[in-house]
Amino acid sequence: MTKLTGLTIAQAREGLKNKEFSAVELATEYNAAVEAARPLNAFITETPEKALEMAKASDDRIAKGEAGIMEGIPLGIKDLFCTEDVLTTAASHILDGFKPQYESTVTTNLWKSGATMLGKLNLDQFAMGSANITSFYGDVINPWKREGDNTDLVPGGSSGGSSAAVAAHAVAAATGTDTGGSIRQPAALTGTVGIKPTYGRCSRWGIVAFASSLDQAGPMTRDVRDASIMLEAMAGYDPKDATSVNVPVPNYEASLENGVKGLRIGIPKEYRVDGMPAEIEKLWQQGIEWLKAAGAEIVDVSLPHTKYALPAYYIVAPAEASSNLSRYDGVRYGLRVCDEGDSLDDMYEKTRAAGFGDEVKRRVMIGAYVLSAGYYDAYYLKAQKVRTRIAEDFNNAWKSCDVLLTPSTPSAAFAKGENSDPLSMYLNDVFTVTANLAGLPGISVPAGLDSNGLPLGLQLVGKPFDEETVLRTAFALEQAAGFEAKPQFMAG
């Protein structure tokens, strides 16, 4: 018999519906997989009892014929989503012991759809990073290794616990968040699927804020069909998030079969960056051929401000982070460092010095600088104007195409230390960050292996609220690529 942990969401849902196994049996197998995945350090908190308790409730609902679209599906939750009475850390020392008294809207939606929780997944501290090496709870290890080489590789970031757990089958799927590429880049580095929906599609309420004008939650799954199912469960209007957009959530899965015949695929020439490995260039070309063969029309487009996206991001994101992270002051929750005779300012400064990691401190300080008197216009305002330019580029491209095809990342998974200075690390997001600045939906789909046997992804970027086209194009790519490879380390 196939292992239950080997099933996709769609397959597990079918098995549960046909009473081939129960939600409790499924959760039990996954609890064992979570334990077996410990060498990856993908989890910060495991919640096996909660998983079983939720699975029992799922079995009751299935018996009563009240199953939701994710009924009984065991998930890992990135530890940036507040979960009621379950430790929520953002992978930072400063949130020591924090047990939210409320549940994020996205996880509430998932539980309403019947999903169950296996635990809270590791990430880069406050979602700042591209390799999951800035967590207070230690590095996450990618289940993939180069052929004939035992060196540990990074799982991407910031949603690195999510990507590693999904790739190793420790969870059926996971939530992620994406501010500059934090869903799509780790998905690409682990051979999994990750979609960042349109800004406003998923509520940000109850998600630890990093850069509020860029942050979006999305699913990380084994295939495109699962991403469609899970996005539908996560998305929806929420009056508690002022930037949540009140538009209907379509049945994404239903759109997958529509194919790409006649669809216009834009190829942005500016994404051919210097020093990009030939293998990635070749895979991109292969993706073009696949979509052409499926009946799509290929159109060359230009996004002239692409090279300014990362510099704009590294003003806007730290500026918003410095403002958002001002709430961590040692007063109401988490860590407090205060010695006898200390003033209130001493307490703030000592708490934040001890509680934040180095990368978080760097970004908070850059943010404080670019927002400070005399520099606001030169940096922050300028970056927001450049952002308008980047959005205009996309609007012009949509006149001649329906969706864009690009590589997801400029390289496959790397080892810690191979990209060690902050700036080289930032370049990981060169292809993904534009979609955040313009608020557009983007997906990474595994499309092939490099010469070391490591997965590479292709990215599709679509028009606002047109996740359906993004997903059905991704589905066509997935079918053409036939990506079946599995990592060396499997937990389930």
Partner: protein, 95 residues
């Protein structure tokens, strides 16, 4: 524009992060690398361009001006180890 040690000390103060004297210089180097990187934005012509204020155009809605949540001070204080008599407490501010 290049950040010196004194500017870094000032930013650290603004950000309420204590940075030991000996770390100011190396931190200035790290921050300058990032500032140097973002300064290429100066090449972009943004004359007459409006700054982006929202990634996706949509109407801000107005909610009714009513209390819709609250009334549970114990839950609000649940994560503070220093709550006392229904309040958060901090070091003495006024002598």
């Amino acid at each position: 524009m290049s950040l010196d040690k004194n500017t870094v000390a000032k930013i650290a103060k603004l950000a309420r992060i204590r940075v030991p004297e000996e770390e100011l210089e190396p931190l200035a180097g790290e921050l300058n690398t990032i500032i140097g990187f973002v300064e290429q934005l100066g090449e972009v012509d943004t004359d007459g361009v409006e700054p982006m204020t929202s990634a996706i155009e949509h109407e801000m809605f107005q909610r009714d001006d009513v209390v819709s949540d609250g009334g549970y001070p114990d839950r609000v204080l649940a994560n503070s180890e220093h709550a006392n008599m229904g309040f958060f407490t901090v070091p003495k501010v006024v002598e």
